[in-house]
Symmetry: C2
Subunit: 308 residues, 2 copies
């Protein structure tokens, strides 16, 4: 990752939009389009960067407001995602400034401003490549914070026993993971849900505080099938104390246990990547336990063929 | 509802922002804050109104971009929701134009521009009161479309047997509802999830097309605990044909059955309310079947006391 950091910092300088989104800047809003493993980058980013409205999109509807004052960032690892190509075409027609983050495909041909990333990965394994240009381009990360992330990831990789244990408990209890997220990192909980889907081939549930206190709290107290779920709370250092209080009070009043998986580090980048990585490892070990291939996404490929 | 339509149309004229959000308008963005049963109105609205970026919020983080060019709409049925009061205070400090939709409480005292709605309901039963000012104020609904909604709701109320049957099947099969939504109405699926939570006291799962084709599709094919779920697809007339195709192909390839619950009517208002109402009825009949009181939200109340 050492060379990678210098490389991505250099690449992302092209897309630097730090000076374009302040009050005098040319972009009044940022729209990020991406599906699944590629879209998660935009979902995480929209909660973290709030100098202008950031809208993360993942459907066929295209917003009216997109125009020459919009920065449109199109993310597709393969560069051939049907939904993403359609939306990018629309954005170009409407005169938005369009950037693409991709490893190739149609998208790299269509769009002039491209951050090219390496081929040969699963989109969900390329999260660093997909997200770093957004974090660096916006100033939410820099070379130092990426180095902190790298050091903390190496620390995590020395020892996986606790995470293996979580996978074991889910497997042996025949449980469905239920993941609690916390703003501004709630979409890391969504990411873990999708990792359980794609890597472990199991359905998973995600929700976030404080919103879940206004609905999920009712059934959590009831005993209706609560034993089916394995609760994971994705916490991070220096969380708003109200979130921690809500987690503790909810668990006490509703009488359920949860496993806390805590991010490491001081920077946003380190917290994002260490949280993601621990979740990825749990989903990976669960796949191994279940005897399924974490890389296999054949059904999604079959579906794409059936739709085209 | 006859008198109600005239009344809400009249009231919403105050908050009419149709002429303020076009290119020459004063509002560059709309921020809607609300939690749980009150927040759902903003979540549904943000996907439907796209003339300017609409950001729906439900957490303690407050976006930097909010300023005198923002229209901030604060929704709290009780008017005393902790998260909502904090955010509204911030919006006022930052000079945003603030409107509140509430039945009273602190919020009605804090904010000058208030759409007052009747007291004595559960927030989730007040969805029409909470959402109509947004639909009318933006021009997404008018008196005619609300009348169409009313007529179609009356039609639905003549006959609940099919919806009762869905509740029976969930109950007898000891299932967890998994609801599929479709943009731009995906948050109606989220609404139904929360109705299962609060009315029926059961956990429920929601997701939406086409995004779910990039993750959930994998476990749907596998047989891992798939039998636990009862799949409901909330469709609507004149859907983008790609959504219907995706639903059918996914169900075929992944080999699962689903129950289609289809909205009625030509207008956005009729489609929203008939879709919501059918879901509400399923969650209500499931509560009855389970012998729980659909009105009881005592745990949420207990939690609020423990947090204050």
């Amino acid at each position: 990752m050492g060379d990678y950091i210098e490389e991505i910092v250099e690449k992302s300088k092209q897309m630097d939009f730090r000076d374009s989104v302040d009050f005098t800047g040319k972009f009044k809003n940022i729209v990020i389009f991406g599906m699944g493993g590629s879209g998660i980058a935009g979902k995480i980013f929209q909660d973290l960067f709030t100098k202008v409205p950031v809208i993360s999109l993942d459907s066929y509807e295209f917003p009216e407001f997109v125009d020459e004052n919009s920065l449109f960032i199109s993310i597709s690892y393969s560069g051939n995602t049907e939904e993403t190509l359609k939306a990018t075409e629309m954005a170009m027609k409407k005169g938005a400034k369009v950037w693409a983050i991709t490893s190739g495909g149609e998208l790299s041909k269509m769009v002039k401003n491209v951050i090219m990333i390496p081929r040969g990965l699963q989109p969900r394994s390329a999260i660093g490549y997909l997200l770093n240009p957004l974090l660096l381009g916006s100033g939410l990360a820099n070379e130092d914070s990426l180095r902190e992330a790298k050091e903390n990831l190496e620390r995590l990789n020395k020892e996986h026993e606790e995470l293996k244990k979580v996978a074991d408990e889910i497997y042996l209890g025949n449980k469905i993971p239920a993941i609690f997220g916390f703003p501004p990192f709630r979409y890391i909980a969504y990411r873990l849900k999708t990792q359980f889907n794609e890597n472990s081939k199991i359905l998973a549930y995600w929700s976030y505080f404080p919103e879940l206190n206004h609905n999920d709290t009712m059934p959590l107290k009831s005993t209706y099938r609560k034993d089916l779920f394995y609760f994971i709370a994705l916490t991070y250092p220096n969380m708003n104390e109200m979130y921690l209080k809500r987690l503790k009070v909810t668990s006490r009043i509703c009488d359920f246990n949860y496993r806390e998986v805590k991010a490491l580090g001081a920077s946003i980048a380190s917290q994002i990547y260490t949280s993601i990585h621990q979740g990825d490892l749990i989903s990976y070990y669960l796949a191994k336990r279940r005897g399924v291939d974490p890389r296999d996404v054949s059904i999604i490929e079959e579906l794409k063929k059936n739709l085209s």
